[in-house]
């Protein structure tokens, strides 16, 4: 059986709370099943031949490499790809060892007296650890293929569901049914008396006598009289009782010293491990029992009972996604490879990729899949599944694991421009489209992580600031060292963003938008100019200063991931972290462009914005105009009437007092504008510039109606999307109030029985700085040195919501230096940045960071 289905068809992808808040729409890509092709394997034994149908979707082709059969269920697996061996724990107390090259069964390891529930290995690949329903852990030397240790506890721990081995500490962690975690060092002094083993210990009940004076013994009971391996008793100090409040089903190491355990109580607990044991760092609540978990990069995937798969970002402890299976079936296994996430539900494996809405599933076992893992061999990834149909299977999941890995790039630190370009190449390859978290949330997280690593590599203190329901903010702080120890260093904040506007190849892009191409002196890729390039220039300029002992100021970086979504959540996150940011003297940014192709600019003003949706709706449903036309007032006509009350015939905004706060043009301003008109190599006059920068404007972006939209329908509702760009003299709150009141009054005046709803989508404060302050003066001087040209002082019609906010909360003035040219195509197809401009910005900033003094 096979099924390919779009995610919105059956399993629901919830974007925890965020969709309604942000008015984001998930993509509704429909999947049409491709012709099925079936592949027969020459495996006479296989009962599943009929079901070995594979997929023609070339992105996802799980090919069954081999299936082994046994007489009892396969409960656990552990692959040793370097040795070419696969170990399988069985219900009948055995560990089967298969050769993955010849597919022969090579050994059977006997030692347990109960089902072998879990297997794990030491990272050097020398030892295998097995845990069972006999409350014992066995250690196996996989070179000699023999048992070396038997580990037991005097407490009644029940089944052993999970094991994890710490290579750095040489400690084995044991997750038990009685909710405790035990840990043990293999060199512990051995015991000699096997009578303390759980099966041999005196038990008040099982060794009690009945009325006849005889003990009742189950027909299958047998004492263990001799233990052939080193006998280790877990000391009392190595038992953490109630580590959870449920059975500890799964444990994995995140890195050397961070262990993550998942249990029946629904908690994923993050522990720091040391020789002293475990100390709890954090816990993530998943509501339902955690049956399985896997970690890839910084993401934690929890497979839960009742059908949910939850994805967490371990850097920020935020829940990113919940994927729910509508049948509510337990997810017994999860595994992840470089590109895919696999989950097992009953006998089926689902293969899913972040960013593709398509989920592929195939029937891997006839009954339940009890264990699942991924191993890598020769640069490829394979999936192992074991089930209670008494079989274990290996699948080629067609995933190249050795392709470019961002986080493991060269460890050699270089500061030159070549290194900057190759880093930018990495940076733009992350598809950090903040408007589509359902597709790119993992890319954004990876990019934030990459930036953290980069800042740390360059010597900054760096961490992620979590944003509720949003991509995190990257914080970095380079500490300056002044020769004069008594001097308090100036502190400069750089604001940038790593998120980008969406881009699709074949939609006007000449190249892959997420692959940087260098042509004729330009770099082409989404984000090169807006804002990854300029941000990187700032990072490199500071890094080089620090490296050459010339950094005397503290430079703080705040690089957010939601700028293109109106800096969603930025203010709340920064408000919570003002102590981390500390005192700031200046704020610098480079998130705009020159006015033309050749004249450098400095930007001292931005307009603000108020965006809103205005909807007129009727109590009646969508109707037919032939049947009901003329009966009542229609929402669409009402909306058009309403919108017509916003602007007069000359294009002036009709909101009362709208223009009142705007001051007349001063002679100094006049001079600035004339200067621009004279110098800028674009065809523009003063009135146009004034309209763009100095005066506010109102735009209707879109009008939508409900219903199918054909020409016989009276829509039940009509919705208009509009925005006002406001200027610094205007008060944002006041203007907003006036705007809403004007709409409501106007609607009252048209006396319709329909209803008006106004929803504010987004707002941003305008910004106007003093172009004669130190920051602008130093930037001006550095621009002149770099370009031999006097920069133009410009304002912009667009908005950057965070600038005015940062100025206010940090009580520091901001200055903006545009990096690229007017033709950069930010937000458009074929975004580009001239290499010269990037290098120039880096030099200008380097000198500015050196010279910018403390604010007096």
């Amino acid at each position: 059986m096979q099924s390919n289905r779009a995610l919105d068809d059956n399993p629901i992808v919830e974007l925890s709370k965020r969709l309604p808040l942000r008015d984001r729409t998930s993509s509704r890509s429909q999947y049409s099943p491709s012709p099925q092709r079936s592949l027969k394997k020459d495996d006479g034994q296989s009962k599943l031949n009929d079901q070995q149908q594979l997929f023609s979707d070339e992105d996802s082709n799980p090919v069954l490499l081999h299936r082994w059969h046994h007489q009892f269920s396969i409960l656990s697996t552990c692959a040793f790809p370097n040795k070419g061996l696969l170990f399988c724990g069985t219900q009948d107390h055995l560990i089967l060892v298969f050769d993955m090259d010849t597919f022969e069964r090579k050994f059977i390891l006997k030692g347990h007296t109960g089902s072998v529930l879990c297997l794990t290995k030491s990272s050097d690949g020398k030892f295998l650890f097995s845990g069972g329903s006999d409350s014992l852990v066995k250690v196996w030397d996989v070179v000699e293929m023999k048992e070396t240790h038997t580990i037991y506890s005097l407490s009644d721990i029940g089944d052993i569901f999970s094991l994890a081995w710490s290579n750095s500490l040489n400690l084995l962690f044991i997750g038990c049914q009685n909710a405790s975690i035990l840990f043990v060092h293999l060199n512990t002094v051995p015991k000699t008396d096997p009578n303390k083993l759980p099966v041999n210990r005196f038990d008040k009940f099982f060794d009690s006598k009945g009325p006849t004076g005889a003990t009742t013994i189950s027909p299958s009971y047998q004492k263990v009289l001799e233990v052939r391996s080193r006998l280790i008793e877990v000391p009392s100090s190595n038992i953490l009782p109630y580590a959870h409040n449920g059975f500890i089903y799964t444990m994995k190491f995140f890195d050397e010293n961070i262990l993550i355990s998942g249990a029946g109580d629904g908690k994923a607990k993050i522990w720091r491990v040391s020789f002293q044991g475990l100390s709890l760092l954090k816990q993530l609540d998943n509501d339902d029992s955690i049956l399985s978990l896997t970690i890839y990069e910084q993401f934690l995937y929890c497979g839960l009972s009742k059908g949910s798969l939850k994805v967490w970002d371990l850097n920020t402890s935020q829940q990113l996604l919940t994927c729910h299976d509508l049948d509510d079936d337990d997810i017994f296994g999860v595994a992840s490879s470089k590109s895919y996430i696999f989950k097992s539900v009953k006998g089926e494996v689902y293969k899913w990729k972040f960013g593709s809405n398509i989920e592929v599933s195939w029937n891997a076992h006839e009954d339940l899949i009890l264990s699942m893992e991924i191993y890598e061999k020769d640069g490829k990834a394979y999936l192992v599944t074991g089930g209670n149909d008494h079989s274990v299977a290996i699948w080629d999941i067609d995933d190249e694991v050795n392709s470019k890995n961002h986080l493991r790039r060269s460890s050699i630190i270089t500061y030159d421009n070549d290194s900057m370009l190759s880093t930018l190449d990495d940076l733009v390859s992350f598809k950090t489209v903040s408007k589509k978290p359902e597709l790119f949330i993992d890319e954004s997280r990876r990019c934030a992580n990459y930036l953290i690593d980069l800042l740390k590599k360059f010597g900054a203190d760096s961490e992620l600031i979590p944003v509720e329901d949003g991509n995190p903010i990257v914080y970095g702080c380079f500490k300056g060292h002044s020769a004069d120890k008594t001097k308090v260093p100036p502190r400069i904040l750089w604001y940038g963003h790593y998120d980008v506007i969406e881009a699709e190849e074949n939609s006007g892009w000449r190249t892959d938008p997420f692959k940087m191409v260098a042509n004729d002196g330009y770099l082409f890729a989404r984000g090169v100019s807006d804002n990854k390039g300029p941000t990187l220039a700032a990072i490199y300029s500071v890094a080089e200063l620090l490296h050459s002992n010339q950094l005397e100021s503290d430079i703080i970086f705040l690089i957010e991931g939601e700028e293109e979504c109106g800096s969603y959540g930025f203010q709340e996150a920064i408000n919570k972290n003002t102590a981390l940011i500390g005192h700031i003297d200046w704020i610098l940014l480079s998130n705009s462009y020159w006015l033309d192709e050749s004249t450098p600019c400095l930007n001292y003003g931005l307009r603000g914005v108020i965006s809103a949706n205005v909807e007129v709706s009727s109590d009646n449903p969508d109707r037919h105009s032939g049947v009901d036309g003329g009966v009542s007032r229609e929402p669409t006509i009402d909306l058009i009437k309403l919108l017509s009350k916003l602007i007069d015939d000359e294009g002036k905004v009709l909101i009362p007092n709208f223009y009142d706060p705007i001051k007349p043009l001063t002679s100094m301003e006049e001079k600035l504008y004339d200067d621009i008109v004279k110098k800028a190599k674009i065809n523009i006059d003063r009135p146009t510039l004034l309209s763009k920068w100095k005066y506010p404007s109102l735009t209707v972006h879109k009008i939508d109606v409900s219903g199918p939209g054909n020409s016989t329908i009276i829509p039940q509702s009509a919705k208009g999307s509009l925005s006002i760009r406001i200027v610094p003299e205007q008060n944002l709150q006041e203007t907003k109030k006036q705007f809403i009141k004007h709409l409501e009054d106007s609607f009252k005046n048209i006396r319709s029985d329909n209803h008006l709803t106004i929803k504010l989508i987004h707002e941003a404060e305008p910004w106007l700085s003093n172009p004669s302050n130190d920051a602008f003066q130093i930037l001006r001087q550095e621009v002149i040195n770099e370009w031999n040209l006097e920069p133009l002082y410009i304002r912009e019609g667009g908005s950057i919501p965070s600038v005015r906010f940062l100025e206010k909360i940090l009580d520091a003035p901001a200055a903006q230096i545009p990096c690229g040219q007017s033709t950069d195509n930010a937000h458009l197809n074929n975004e580009k940045l001239r290499v010269t401009n990037l290098y120039a910005l880096r030099r200008i900033l380097q000198n500015t960071f050196k010279k910018l003094p403390k604010r007096s």
Binding site: Q71, I239, G246, S289
Partner: protein
């Protein structure tokens, strides 16, 4: 007590057939350990929730009798013809109160059901405090004369005061049930401070969906009355009267909690730690410690049972016998499927 999903179980698989079924426990109690009288012959009770949704409304069905469980033909026949997803069963050896049906467990109130194994020491000194503490309606609910029923009234009152009115007959949820039971234990603990003898407070309560069971003693050194649990994918009869729990996956379709294991399969049962609470929530077992002055930090601390022995409440522990080395080398766990195959 017992919970199973999605398939209900025939009561006889729990009550009458297994090697150490509740009927057998009534005349062959191993952990009462009273050599002279290892018998729970002072009546019995069975409570279960109907699988018919129409009958669910009125709460559980309870069948109680003052005859010893081994002597009750009705129990045998009813057990063979009744299925349920959630069953409580109790055999009584009275510690307090006379032999009467109103004194037999389990007790019910609307959809709630409650049992007690143990006793409150010097209950005559506590009873007045308890009665004064609870609302009239729960005082008037009392029909029998046992400390156990008073404990249930106290539990109902505690639940009420936490904001969950038991009269509504609604599912309370595992968190509130556990909170109310732990609070009930805390009241009794506080009212019995200074008494020479500890109180044994193994309670079980359910709202028809979640089950909470405590294993508790008001002592730091003595052991509480026994409590075991077992969970797995199914409870199978592999030979006549020989049952075992099958554990193939992490699902817990069958969960059993019992003062004494129902079978002699050693690996199938695990002891609930003394002074802790076991919760069955959505077919998942949770364990919470009760942390108060009687909590023991050391997980390997061995509590003594000398108090119970000296009072004659529990007999002395039988000494282990040397194992019979000639036992045929069968799979000890009894969980291998080969045995099933052989028996077919």
């Amino acid at each position: 007590m017992f919970q199973t999903k999605p398939y209900p179980i025939l009561l006889s698989h729990l009550l009458t057939r297994p090697a150490h079924s509740i009927i057998n426990q009534s005349f062959d109690s191993r952990l009462r350990l009273d050599k002279r009288r290892p018998i729970n012959g002072d009546g019995f009770g069975v409570g279960y929730y109907s699988i018919d949704p129409e009958l669910e409304e009125a709460g559980p069905c309870v069948f109680r009798a003052i005859t010893p469980a081994w002597n009750n033909l009705n129990l045998e026949t009813l057990a063979e013809k009744t299925k349920s997803n959630l069953v409580f069963a109790h055999v009584r050896a009275s510690t307090y109160g006379v032999l009467s049906e109103t004194n037999c467990h389990p007790f019910t109130f609307k959809n709630l059901m409650f049992m007690h194994n143990g006793g409150i020491s010097n209950f005559n000194l506590v009873k007045r405090k308890l009665i004064n503490h609870i609302k009239d309606e729960y005082f008037l609910y009392l029909q029998g004369s046992t400390d156990s029923e008073c404990c249930f009234a106290l539990f109902l009152d505690t639940l009420d005061k936490l904001g969950y009115d038991p009269n509504e007959g609604k599912e309370v949820g595992n968190d509130a049930l556990r909170k109310a039971l732990m609070k009930t234990i805390e009241y009794i603990k506080d009212w019995t401070i200074g008494f020479k003898d500890p109180s044994l407070l193994n309670f079980a309560v359910t709202d028809g969906n979640s089950i909470i069971v405590s294993r508790y003693i008001t002592s730091k050194t003595e052991e509480a009355a026994s409590l075991h649990f077992s969970s797995g994918s199914s409870f199978v009869e592999y030979e006549p009267n020989q049952y075992r729990i099958e554990r193939l996956d992490r699902g817990q379709n069958v969960i059993m909690v019992a003062s004494e294991p129902l079978t002699f399969e050693r690996g199938d049962w695990i002891a609930v730690p003394t002074n802790s609470v076991l919760t069955i929530k959505d077919q998942t077992v949770l364990l919470h410690p009760i942390i108060d002055e009687y909590h023991q930090q050391d997980p390997l601390y061995s509590r003594s049972s000398s108090f119970a022995e000296s009072k004659g409440l529990m007999g002395s522990v039988p000494v282990a016998e040397a194992p019979d080395v000639d036992v045929p080398p069968l799979e000890r766990e009894g969980r291998s499927r080969s045995l099933v195959v052989e028996s077919i």
